[in-house]
Structures are given as C-alpha cells and as structure tokens.
C-alpha cells in the first residue's frame, strides 16, 4: 500500500477490510486471538467486538495526533494508546460480562499486541484524516469480526454440535472434540484459507490471467 502514491479514500477503506484485505484470511495478522478464543461463537464475537472497539478508538486518537508524531517515538505512542483503551475495554468486560471476561482471560489484554491494530495505526491512521481512520477501523474491525465469527461458527458446530450454546444438530450426530482443542483451531483456519485460495484461483483462471 505504501508504494501507491494516492492513499485510498474513506469509501475504499471502509470496504477493503471485509474481503480484499481481510486481516486474517489475506494479511494473516492478529492470529493469536483468532486461534485462541474461537472454540465457541459467543467468545469469538465478543473478542471481535472488543478488538473493533479498541481499533476504532486507537485509530481516532492516532489520527488526531498524526501531526505531532515523532518518527522514532511513534510505535511507543501507538502502543501506549492501545494499552490505555484495552484497559478500558477490559474493565468494561469485567463489569458487564464477568463470565465472558473470565473465559477470555489473558487474551483481552493481549489485544495490545494484536498486530492488526498497530498495523492500521501505521498504515492508515497516522497519515489520514479522522473520518478516513474511522472508516478504516470499521472496515478492518468488521473483517476481523467476520473472520473470527466464521471460525467460531465452524468450530462450535463441529466440536460441540451447538450454536451460541444451543444444541442444533440431531442427537445421534457425532461431535468432534478435536475442533474444540488447539489442533482444531489450526485445522479450521488452514481449511478456510485453503478454500478461499481455491476460490480465488478458480476465479482468476476463469478470467484467463495466470498470475495470482
């Protein structure tokens, strides 16, 4: 993106995060929470929303500060901004969703080192206006939420036979414990990325260009 002289506008920033530049399936960043908290759908959605909220707040603040940032201190500023908002979100979760807060455990504070947020601060918010930064946060956060939810959906359905804690497959259907375990997280994400790759390959093949 940095080689392109013209930075994308608000509309493009809002839409590109969902599919074309999806954080998880395409850019493959922010993997730790993606794999760790997606064994059930509610945890995945909570994590996605918490991350989006932090991303939105950090993008706004970074964008407002963008004329005062010193190049050698900017990473520190991003990190401290993010850490502040993560603390706020963590306290909010502990107050209003204590059960979920316990289940997510250390992965809430680990939003601080989610490379997605810092990379958006660097790639977009530190260079563009607040409006574009908000659009970017919504787009990228939405894409992150989408990816987390799809992983949580597959893993909860296969691993526990339920959706949002409600059993929704016939009793005689087997459940695969492995999808609730760490190995299942790698397996599910690998399969989803492979399916997406296959779809892209077939689409570019049908258009007739060979370079992927």
């Amino acid at each position: 993106m940095s080689t392109v002289p013209q930075l994308p506008g608000a509309g493009e920033r809002l839409t590109q995060g969902w599919f074309a530049e999806n954080a998880i399936f395409v850019q493959l960043i922010g993997m730790c929470p993606t794999l760790a908290v997606t064994s059930t759908l509610p945890a995945a959605v909570t994590m996605g929303l918490a991350t989006t909220l932090v991303l939105l707040a950090s993008n706004i603040v970074t964008s407002l500060l963008r004329h005062h940032l010193q190049p050698h201190l900017r990473i520190l500023v991003y990190t401290l901004t993010i850490a502040t908002f993560v603390t706020i979100v963590d306290r909010l979760l502990a107050a209003f969703l204590p059960g979920m807060s316990r289940q997510l455990g250390p992965y809430v504070p680990l939003i601080i080192v989610n490379c997605l947020i810092i990379s958006r601060a660097e790639a977009c918010a530190s260079r563009q206006s607040v409006l574009i930064a908000i659009a970017d946060a919504l787009g990228q956060g939405g894409g992150f939420l989408l990816a987390l939810s799809s992983l949580g959906l597959v893993r909860e359905l296969l691993g526990f036979g339920s959706l949002w804690g409600v059993r929704c497959v016939p009793d005689e259907w087997p459940t695969f414990l492995i999808f609730g375990l760490p190995a299942g997280a790698f397996l599910t994400l690998g399969t989803l990325v492979a399916v997406l790759n296959a779809w892209k390959l077939s689409r570019s093949a049908s258009r007739g260009d060979n370079h992927v």
Binding site: C32, A83, P109, L110, P182, G184, G190, T191, A198
Partner: protein, 194 residues
C-alpha cells in the same frame, strides 16, 4: 525445588506457549522457513521473555501493588517490555557483537510478540508468588517457544520438496502442520494439574 521443576516442565511442554496458548503465532508462521532463523528468533524471545518476566514481576510486586495501581498493569507491562527490548538490543550490540549479528534483526519484532506480554500476564493469572517461580516460568515458556518454532522450521525445510496442491501452498499447509504438532503436544496434557 520440585515445584520449580514442575512449573518449568509445564510451561515448556504441557502448556506450550505456541501450540496450547496460541501465543507468538505470527513469528511461529513468519520466521520458520529456515532452522537458523528459527533458532535465532527462539533464542531472542527466550532471552527477552526471561528478562521481561523478571522485570514485570518486580514492578508489579513492589511498585504497582503497594501503590494500589494494578489497573495500570497492562500499560506498565507493555512499557517495560518495549524498554527491555530496546535496552537488550543496545547492550547486545555494544558488548556481544557476534550475538547481535545472530539475532539482532529479530529483537525489534519482539515488542509486539504476544508470547512475551502473555508470559508476563500469565505469571499473575496463574498465581506464581516468588521471583524464582516467575523467572523459571518465563524462561521455560521461552524454551517451549524455541522448541516449537525449531520443529516447525525443520518440517518446513523438508516441505520444499513436497508436491502440494496449489490452493494449499504457503499458509494453509503450515497451519495443518501446526495442527498435527498441536495434536502431538496434546499428549503431554494430563501430566499433573498445575
């Protein structure tokens, strides 16, 4: 003594940072193409993790808790980690030139390595109370990361010769390998409870 041994074993294998807690996945997938690079990254992480684990333990125990400022835990910890990484880089560059040549390039990346922050936070959420426990836990957690990333790199070096279907190339097949590794490490589960 036996307790310490057990904490170490648990951090390195039973609850492997990468394969059980999913900490440090980005370098695990990004810097595992060659064994040399993986070894350098693993060593750098182990080093920083041990120093940061000890430093954050002392900070939390003797500054934040007495002052009643536990709410600043995250901000203080990330600040300490960033500082540690900077300090370690300067120190190593000044006094251990060969070491800097070996893993210097990996040091700046470690600030945003979730394994380091994860280790510092897990020391508290798992209720370790002494400095020795904190140091053993963070050092062995780093060793666990080193083990996992080196195994991964060894497998990926061999994979160059494999004929992999087009859509699976790159990340998907690496994730499948990680899944098989995670299954293998599940075998350690159940050795003790802590």
């Amino acid at each position: 003594m036996f307790d310490l041994l057990f904490i170490g074993l648990s951090a390195a294998f039973i609850n492997n940072f990468v394969l059980t807690y999913f900490l440090g996945i980005c370098p695990f997938l990004g810097v595992s193409r060659k064994i040399d690079g993986a070894l350098g990254m693993g060593a750098a992480v182990t080093f920083v993790m041990t120093v940061a684990g000890g430093a954050t333990y002392l900070l939390h125990q003797y500054v934040l808790i007495p002052l009643g400022l536990e709410i600043l835990q995250y901000i203080a910890f990330i600040f300490v980690i960033a500082g540690t990484v900077q300090f370690v880089e300067l120190y190593v560059r000044r006094f251990y030139e060969p070491l800097h040549a070996a893993f210097g390039v990996y040091l700046p990346m470690i600030t945003t390595n979730c394994a380091v922050l994860g280790a510092c936070l897990l020391i508290w959420s798992r209720g370790y109370t002494t400095l020795a426990e904190a140091l053993v836990f963070s050092f062995c957690g780093g060793l666990g990361f080193l083990t996992a990333i080196v195994i991964m790199a060894g497998l990926r070096e061999e994979m160059v010769f494999a004929d992999i279907p087009q859509p699976l190339r790159g990340v998907p097949v690496s994730l499948f390998i990680a899944a098989i590794l995670a299954m293998a490490f599940t075998g350690f589960a159940g050795i003790g409870a802590r």
